[in-house]
Amino acid sequence: MSILQILDIGLAGLVLAVAAWTVFARDAFAAVVGFVAYGLLLSLVWVRLFAVDVALTEAAIGSGVTGVLLIGAAGRLRKLEASGGDDELPGASLRLFAAALCIFVTLVLAGVVLSLPDPGPTLAPEAARHLAETGLGNPITAVLLSYRSFDTMLEKVVLVLAVVGVWSLAADQYWGGAAGNPRGAEPDGTRALLAQVLPPLGILIGIHMVWVGADEPGGAFQGGAILAAMWMITMMAGLTEMPSIRSRLLRLVLVAGPAVFVAVGVAGVAFASGVFAYPTGFAKPLILFIEAFMTLSIAVTLPVLVAGPPKRLRQQ
């Protein structure tokens, strides 16, 4: 058994242990903190599966932004429920039944996964064959923005709908107001320092990730998530604030990604072989063009979703 295998087994054990902690921990807040650590460990597993793009996404969105969202919520719930009167678990028989069901599902899945052919069927050669047409070097970016760009566009629409859904939970009187704390609500030296030092570098790294995403691991999702994190840090420090949900600029940026995507896609009918096709030779510049707007939209959508529905009237 090589060292790498021992490390793999150790990592596997650690991931499962932390996952079990998030399920069985008594305190919801502790479980959420466990979940963030779990996400980071999981991105190491993704690296071991040679899926660096996914590892970056998992670390940035699956663990990072989701972590901010969940920790914020768990903190607020802890404040809201003084006594926390609903901690009672269901009866032992139900838990036993659930445990049996879950063990059964796990065993069946593990059995089936092991029985999958190895080496398995793959679209990698197909993806490689068409890579030249896209002018890209990163096949995953090619799948996301060319071969299956329709999925990606629709997933951007999912993000827009999530924003509408979250906003729909506002109290009526706050419609047109803003979420989160106003600027300068809680002045704090440490956070302000971080919010001043980190963003220049973070923005650089975010844009770099999108740019190299054409050829190397990275892309609009990962870069956008980093930009989103920078904005969230400045908001937490009270240096910036969420704009009003009725702000025309905010809405423009929210829909810019999917709108440009749809526009370029439909233009393919006139200028290329069909909808969501790129004209020969223009694939790469068009993909980068779409990615630029997608990054912008993601960078704004993620913080908007984390901030939740508007909670206060806008200060004029």
Binding site: D8, A12, L16, A19, V23, A28, F35, Y38, L42, V45, W46, R48, L49, F50, A51, D53, V54, E58, I61, G62, T66, L70, A74, L80, E81, G84, D86, E88, L89, A98, C102, T106, L107, L109, A110, V113, L116, P119, G120, T122, L123, A124, A127, P139, V143, L144, Y147, R148, D151, E155, V158, L159, L161, A162, V166, L169, G219, L302, L305, G308
Partner: protein, 109 residues
């Protein structure tokens, strides 16, 4: 044992663990955590499928990887909507567990 096989076990176990949390825990936020665990288990299974599809000079099949990236973003959006619902429910009704509240069959008074 290859990393992919090991990941297969982790993925399956995560689905089971998450499902257990989703079924048994009455607190909505814990149910959301359970859903996220199942989700990441499913994504890992995609990862194994991708790894087994290594070919044409790629260390893993890019198509399932792209699907996972899409899936992670969708899972985040779902968590955001669910959290917003939970917080709104607490605001309007106070602490509520999804188990104690019953399907109201009775006429509204």
């Amino acid at each position: 044992m290859t990393a992919a096989t090991l990941a297969g076990f982790i993925g399956s176990a995560l689905v089971g663990l998450g499902l257990y949390g989703l079924i048994t825990d009455p607190q909505p936020i814990r149910k959301i955590l359970g859903f996220n665990l199942i989700g990441s288990g499913v994504f890992l299974l995609f990862g194994i499928v991708a790894r087994k599809g290594a070919a044409a000079g790629f260390a893993a099949d890019p198509v399932p990887q792209a699907m996972v990236i899409t899936g992670i973003v969708v899972a985040f959006s779902a968590s955001a909507l669910a959290i917003a619902l939970v917080l709104r429910l607490y605001e309007v009704a106070g602490p509520v567990s999804l188990r104690s509240e019953h399907t109201s069959n009775k006429a509204e008074k």
